[in-house]
Symmetry: C2
Subunit: 465 residues, 2 copies
């Protein structure tokens, strides 16, 4: 993988109001699929709270904006290949809330396999327990495996999943607005605890949901959790433009990332929202060395630990091919369906197919390229090189920050915080401390959402498409 | 309320293997509906994590077995009456898990308004994060208010709710058995993380649920959370006999509690289970004073803070009467329907009606009697008197322990731990410390459940009705 040389003058632009949003994407022993095989890796990290507490504290030392956990309500792949199973994200982030003070806590949760009432309660509760640090990565959950854990025989169509997701978010926002902020009057003498006129039942009857009542959790410090989205298909981008305040994306090149960034900001403007209020965070897998050669050697060691057969099976899954269709030393078959015909993870599908076709990779080579970051870009190099690349993407219209996906955990996050973070701070690209207590929304420069029952004009502007 | 004088010789039976199971039922400012009006009560306690952390640590100092949180997925009553809204129980207990070391964590969760896959994950995750301290109070959730938050127009029939609950528990047990304990082989050299032969998909197709896959959380320290139940209707008791390991119940008299206890143990035996493996825990509301008169005065102060109009509205709700039907200074109407015709909270309905009829109480008097513990018995007296009453119920076949429901929090729990707990310890009825690290199941003297995929004979014996 190439370390991009920054254009002259594009880094070190000095401290300004715009600084990086860094998110630590935590995943057991790391994002490289072979990370668990390294001698130092704990194969039981996936269920070890202490492992995650240490990671969270490291990220907080690095003044990251937030932690992030991916999720899907199914057991992925086979357990032979690599660590599988995990602590349920909202549970784990609640435990991490008590072990940290400032860092945001972003949990993935599915709109296809949850009820709005239950999920609204859980995010409001996490937001209260953490003092306003909750974020929700809104996913529609591709794949029949998940569907079959919830009474369905197949996954709902892609467009239907997104239609349900939009209604789901509308309902949860109504539920989060159930209580006005000053509902509790606490008049002990009169025996009046709250003002019933300030409670607003949801009274929602839509295509997918009927929810009558008010939420049984008061409005939380942030009003709503930070709303995050990570699908890059056409449906995904339209959804993000309408609802998201942060977008995670997988981009393989600066040019591609700039195009995605510009497109999403344009769509956001077209949806009637200020594009500044949506931050784009590409995922990157930093692999550090004290020299570039050392970093490349570390990457090489990891790649050599990939079992190609495992990658082949996963590729066949992603591309919806019969087992045994792919050959390690041949290119992808010519007759793959177009993205429009795929009902699953459309943007991941397209990214992988375009990567393979664009560079004429064999399946084995493609697996090597995907092993580190599952489609996210690997930056292997010295801390200076990685900081340069981050600065370039940030200043050249490709990113408002990054979803940092260390190849190996905890060592990769430790190294990033110890060696790259100080450089980013010295260049004025990253805060040096958290300062006074802020909610996650405040750190993102976002207003606390107005309660739709108080400010109907503003609220309808926010939801206009 | 009368303090029962213990029968001679029934307390002080000395240390033996059988000791009390004490559970601290936490609820914002306390179980007395007027507790929030006392000068020392914090009207914002319902969303204050620090309040709950302090309570949890107090209960742990008192070597309680567990903490317990009630729940229903709706906003109860009106917010004018008393504190409403709460932190979602599994979220709050996860936060409390990190603030405590030994105490069990029992969350209420509904089988009517959850998916087995989601709930199984959450309890397994809490069990892992807490080192084997999770418990699940299995409820079917009465009332149309909850139903209308989940797309239904009315609550499902009582029998149907229980049929669904039984299937729900069967599915979650299958999911908790998805992973054999030694699934992870962690063979780094060979690149094999887990043994796929030890993963068991649920493959469940029933009346209410279809769940195909394996859980995406490994088997937790306890295997299953402690299974708790609190319904005392015929359906509820049959369900408890089949599944429950602890039962919370509201009993107004020693005789009634003994009858309930004997009946439930008999039903458990008839269901093919060892009745020793089901513990019966009546709820009690201790109100302490250094003299009996002082305790009664404290109770009196609380009762005087009840707003009778609020109680009348709640009673009309419970009895499914039109608003305005009840008169404060008259008895209940003669033409109430029998329990068999009620689809809601059957056992609570019967308890209230029998209490009112049995003592010919006016509505106002009934509200006073229910204000403290909503149907649970208030023990007002000196620490010695309360310890005596506990000892009597425990040794005379009415209880295996108690669900302690302090009228006022935190002061009522503080007082119980400071003044009653030492007496119970001195009488050999309660442990003095937790000793070596135990799971909640171990503290209840329960075996870790065998994995049904390994021990088909035992597993089928456990589920035979």
């Amino acid at each position: 993988m190439t370390i991009r040389t920054p254009a002259p003058g594009s880094t070190g632009t000095g401290p300004g109001p715009r600084t990086l949003h860094l998110n630590a994407f935590l995943m057991n022993t790391g994002h490289h699929e072979a990370s668990w095989r390294l001698p130092e890796s704990d194969p039981y990290a996936h269920v070890d709270l202490a492992h995650y507490v240490a990671l969270a504290r490291t990220a907080e030392r690095g003044t990251f904006d937030s932690l992030f956990l991916a999720d899907g309500p199914q057991l992925w792949n086979t357990v032979a290949q690599r660590p599988a199973g995990a602590l349920e994200p909202l549970t784990l982030l609640t435990a991490l809330a008590t072990a940290t003070e400032h860092i945001g806590l972003i949990a993935t949760a599915s709109t296809s396999y949850n009820s709005p009432y239950n999920l609204a309660r859980r995010f409001a509760s996490l937001d209260i327990v953490s003092g306003g640090r909750a974020g929700w990565n809104i996913v529609t959950t591709a794949g029949a495996e998940a569907a079959r854990n919830f009474g369905l025989d197949a996954e709902p169509a892609h467009a239907e999943r997104y239609a349900r997701a939009a209604e789901f978010v509308e309902v949860t926002r109504r539920l989060w607005d159930s209580w006005e902020d000053d509902t509790v009057v606490a008049d002990k003498a009169a025996g009046v605890w709250g003002d019933d006129a300030k409670i607003h039942p949801a009274r929602h009857e839509g295509t997918y949901f009927k929810v009558a009542g008010a939420l049984n959790v008061p409005r939380s410090p942030q009003g709503y959790p930070l709303l995050v989205q990570a699908g890059s298909s056409a449906d995904g981008k339209a959804f993000a433009a309408r609802y998201a305040e942060a977008v995670f994306t997988a981009q393989q090149s600066l040019a591609g990332a700039r195009a995605f960034y510009a497109d999403l900001k344009r769509l956001t403007r077209r949806a009637g929202r200020d594009p500044e209020l949506l931050k784009v965070l590409p995922g990157i897998v930093p692999v550090l060395g004290s020299t570039e050669a050392e970093a490349r050697a570390a990457e090489q060691v990891l790649d050599e630990h990939i079992v190609p057969e495992h990658g082949r099976v996963r590729l066949e899954n992603l591309l919806r091919l019969e087992p045994g269709t792919l050959h390690l030393d041949r290119e992808l078959p010519a007759d793959l369906p177009p993205e429009s015909a795929v009902e699953g993870a459309k943007s991941r599908y397209t990214l992988v197919v375009e990567l393979a076709r664009g560079e004429r990779l064999t399946v084995r080579q493609l697996i090597g390229r995907l092993g580190g970051g599952r489609g996210h870009l690997t930056f292997a190099g010295t801390p200076e090189q990685v900081a340069d690349a981050i600065g370039t993407w940030f200043t050249e219209g490709a990113a408002d920050g990054f979803n940092i996906m260390p190849a190996v955990l905890p060592s990769g996050l430790d190294a990033f915080v110890e060696h790259v973070v100080p450089l980013l701070r010295a260049r004025g690209l990253l805060r040096s401390g958290y300062g006074p207590r802020q909610t996650l929304r405040e750190r993102y420069g976002l207003p606390r959402p107005a309660n739709q029952h108080l400010a109907p004009a503003l609220s309808s502007a926010l939801t206009t498409v």
